[in-house]
Every structure is written in C-alpha cells, then in structure tokens.
Amino acid sequence: MDSEITLRVDGRRETLSVDTRTTLLDALRERLGVTSPKKGCDHGQCGACTVLLDGRRATSCLTFAVANEHSEVVTAEGLAEKDEPHPVQQALLDNDGFQCGYCTPGQVCSAVGMLDEVKSGWPSYVTDDLEEPVELDEDEIRERMSGNLCRCGAYANIVTAIREAAE
C-alpha cells in the first residue's frame, strides 16, 4: 500500500510515494539515493544507519518512512558544509577514527547527537550523580557511543576523536 510523504533530507525538501513497508533507511538509500546511512544489521543492533531525526540521533532501520512525515532528516553527508567537514568528521580524519569506514557515517551522526545530549545535561548509565553536570570522560563517551559497533575495532581512535571534537 502506497502513501505519499514529504521529508526534509539534508536540507532538501523531498516528496515521494512509498510502500508503507519501507523503512526510513531504505527510503533514504533506495529511493532518494542518500547512501551515507549504512545498512549493517537492519535490526537496531549496530548503529550504522544512525541519522539525526528532527535533531536527535535515531536508528533509521526500525522506523517506517511513513511514520516520519514532515520530519527533518540530517545524514552524515548533510553535516558537512560544502567541502568543510563537520568538526566531528574532521576529528575522525585527524585521529584515524576509522578503517574501512562502513560504520563511520553512523558514528558521526551518533556523536553529533550525543554531544548535544551532553550539552543538554543528559546523564548516562555511568554518570555517578544524576543531578550534577556531566563530565565527558572516556567512560562516558564509551557508554554513550555503545549503540555504534565498529567491525574494524577502531574504537580507541573514535573515542579520542570525539574527545577532541567535544573540546
């Protein structure tokens, strides 16, 4: 069953007709040709499909495109300003924060969303005092980024890059 939806994707307005069964991830990749969000597991388990959905990080493989009518979607592609990488992207480049790069767009969107959450004072499971401001140390970064797996095991440099981008 088809349904017409309008989305904003990386700043562009897109109107398309989708089968209700299409996930947001498949709509982006297969219908709109926006291939920076990757399909790793398709079950919410790897984070490769992470995008910013109305400004918040979200897995795009477990939400149907039709459920996101009028949403603003920003992918890793849309975070860069023309040829200027986003500070998180630059930090990953500077610190060798990837090997094959498959998980990287998801890591980028997740880190950008995560840094905003920290700015808003959101605690994590490893935050000792839930009422004190968060100090983004290595344990905090690892916990907050645990939804993004990296098959190449580039974790150490990803953490360093995020620390740098947070400064």
Binding site: T20, R21, H43, R56, A58, A67, G113, L130, G147
Partner: protein
C-alpha cells in the same frame, strides 16, 4: 513483510475504535520492537495505528505528589527529566541501561512496557515456540536457555521479560493507565505482565484494543536513595542477565523500608516481596542481604544453561544493598 495500512491517530477514541474492531490492527509507538518483529515475520499486522502524535508526550507532577508519565514520552526524555532524576533515580538508571542512545530517542514508555521477549526461538519463525505459535512446543526448554527464567516459568514457556524500565516501575509500585472501548482502568504494573502458565502467548492482561495512555508513580520519599544495577554479557548495549532495582531506608543501622524487584529472572518484572519481608526490620548487614536473596530464590528452578543466575542474583542484590545502606550510614 505483509502489506499493511498505516494510519496516524489524531485522537485516542478513534484510535481505540479502529484497533478494537480489527483483530489484525496494532498500535505502533517508536516501532523499535514492532518493526523488528514485522521484518522477522513474528508479527504480521494488517493495519498500524501510529499513536506517537497523541497528546501523551509529557511528564507531569500532580498535586497529590504522584508523577504522571505520558505513554508516548520517549525513553531518553524520561531519563533526562529532572523530577525522575531527583525523586526516582532507579528509574532513570534503568532507562539509561536499556538499548542505546539512538534507540532510546525513539522508544516510548508504552512500547517499552509492552516489548516482547528476546528469546531467540520466539524471534526465529522456523523453530517451535508456544508464545509465537501456541501448541507448537518450547524450543528453549531443551535448547539454548542461558537467558531464560528461573522463577515463575511453566513447561510451556521459560522466557524472560526484557524491559529494564519495567523492573524499576515494579519496585516503585507504579500504575498503568489504560483506555479501552469500554472506558478506562488502572492496572498496577506488577499485575500488567503475566506468568506464562498455559497461555504463554499472552504477555499481559491487556485486551486487544486497549491503549496504554500513561504510567503513574506514587510518591516514595525514600526512593531518592535507590539504584538499578544490570549485569550483562558486555558492559553496555545488551539485555540483562540479571538486574536489581532497589530502594531502601535505614534507621539506626536497621532497614525500615525496602523495595526490591528483579529483571532477567522471570516472564515478568519480578517484585521480590519475600526478600522485602526478610529485610524489614533487620540489621543492614551482609548476612541480612544474603538471607533476603535466599528467601526470594527459594522456589527458583534452573535450566541447563542458567544456573549461574542464582549466585549472580544473590551477589548483585547484596552489592546494591551494601552500596545503598553504606551511603545512608555515611
């Protein structure tokens, strides 16, 4: 995936009417469990009614000291809510221990409560499973059952309930507000989920078409000192093997109030009333903590792969109580 019709609910009454009259219709919240099940073929709804734009997205402190959490409040927003962090830290911790940041931004309060078991056979449509297909048998009984239940299980099903949030809610004696075609009712969260018995296909006492509209927390002053601790196979982003939600009050070295619930042990969040009785009035000592765990686990029955849950539960409960009572003393 089977084709389905998608509707966005604009008011609760028509959403309830739509789902109630169509046995193939389901509500959808964040979709993080339901979409997964639709991909796996575990559930094949013919119609989805999206409830995320209904006006249930706020957390309110009520004049009588209760806190009402709307059913569509996202797990991440609830964990960040100041009133939850101050008054019910165990609930914030339970939410933050679940899934990942990008899933918690989608997952809703109602959907989290009603998420289904992670039993691998339930999720694999090629294997027998009484919960998915009543009467087909239980593959976990003689199969891989490391994550399965040690309390309250039946011969038909040994699955565990996966929600962390629900364990904290059980310790807090939260109420679930439900609206159906015949009006509203309130179900204590400890009575929402069922034990499997002869009908493992029924996770909860809800009837088809009933909509969870909110969860209410009663005031519980001593919950300011409370803790949710989760033990799992990796440090983060994994379901609980065992978890403990606890709130205690200590006076002159003796425990005067205790609320304890366990996750990972049963088909429902397990409110540990026997452990609470053992703690009540007893000195806050290691012996008391161990005795409380033993009291609750007296009826436990283990399977081939999950015997470890018994000592793990005992140790985790003792560790949490030690931490909470030492804090109090200092």
């Amino acid at each position: 995936m089977k084709p389905f019709d998608y509707q966005r609910a604009t008011d609760a009454d028509s959403a309830i009417a739509t789902v109630s009259r169509d046995p193939e219709a389901r509500y959808i919240g964040g979709g993080t469990n339901l979409v997964d099940h639709m991909k796996l073929g575990v559930t094949q709804p013919g119609k989805l009614v999206d409830i995320t734009r209904l006006p249930y997205d706020s957390v309110e402190s009520l004049p009588d000291g209760r806190v009402r959490i709307g059913a569509t409040v996202r797990n991440s927003d609830l964990a960040a809510e100041p009133v939850i962090r101050q008054r019910y830290p165990l609930l914030a911790q339970a939410l933050l221990s679940g899934a990942s940041g990008q899933l918690r931004n989608l997952a809703t309060t109602g959907g989290n409560l009603l998420q289904r078991t992670r039993c691998p056979y339930f999720q694999d449509v090629t294997t027998p499973c009484n919960k998915r297909e009543p009467g087909s048998g239980c593959s976990a009984l003689e199969g891989w059952n490391r994550h399965h239940a040690v309390l309250g299980a039946s011969e038909r099903c040994v699955a565990t309930h996966p929600s962390d949030m629900a364990v904290a809610l059980a310790a807090l004696d939260a109420d679930v507000l439900v609206e159906g075609p015949d009006g509203q009712r309130t179900v204590p969260v400890t009575e929402l989920h069922r034990l499997p018995g002869d009908e493992p296909e029924q996770d909860t006492v809800l009837r088809h078409g009933e909509l969870v509209t909110a969860v209410e927390l009663p005031p519980l002053p001593f919950a300011v000192r409370s803790r949710y601790r989760k033990v799992r196979d990796r440090a983060s982003y994994a379901f609980a093997l065992v978890s403990v939600a606890a709130a205690v009050e200590v006076s002159d070295g003796a425990i005067t109030e205790a609320r304890i619930a366990f996750g990972g042990l049963a088909h429902k969040p397990w409110r540990a009333t026997a452990a609470e009785r053992a703690l009540h009035g007893a000195p806050a000592t290691e012996e008391t903590f161990r005795a409380a765990a033993d009291a609750e686990l007296a009826e436990a029955e283990t399977l081939r792969d999950n015997e470890f849950k018994i000592p793990m539960t005992r140790n985790t409960l003792a560790a949490v109580l030690r931490e909470l009572t030492q804090q109090e003393g200092s």
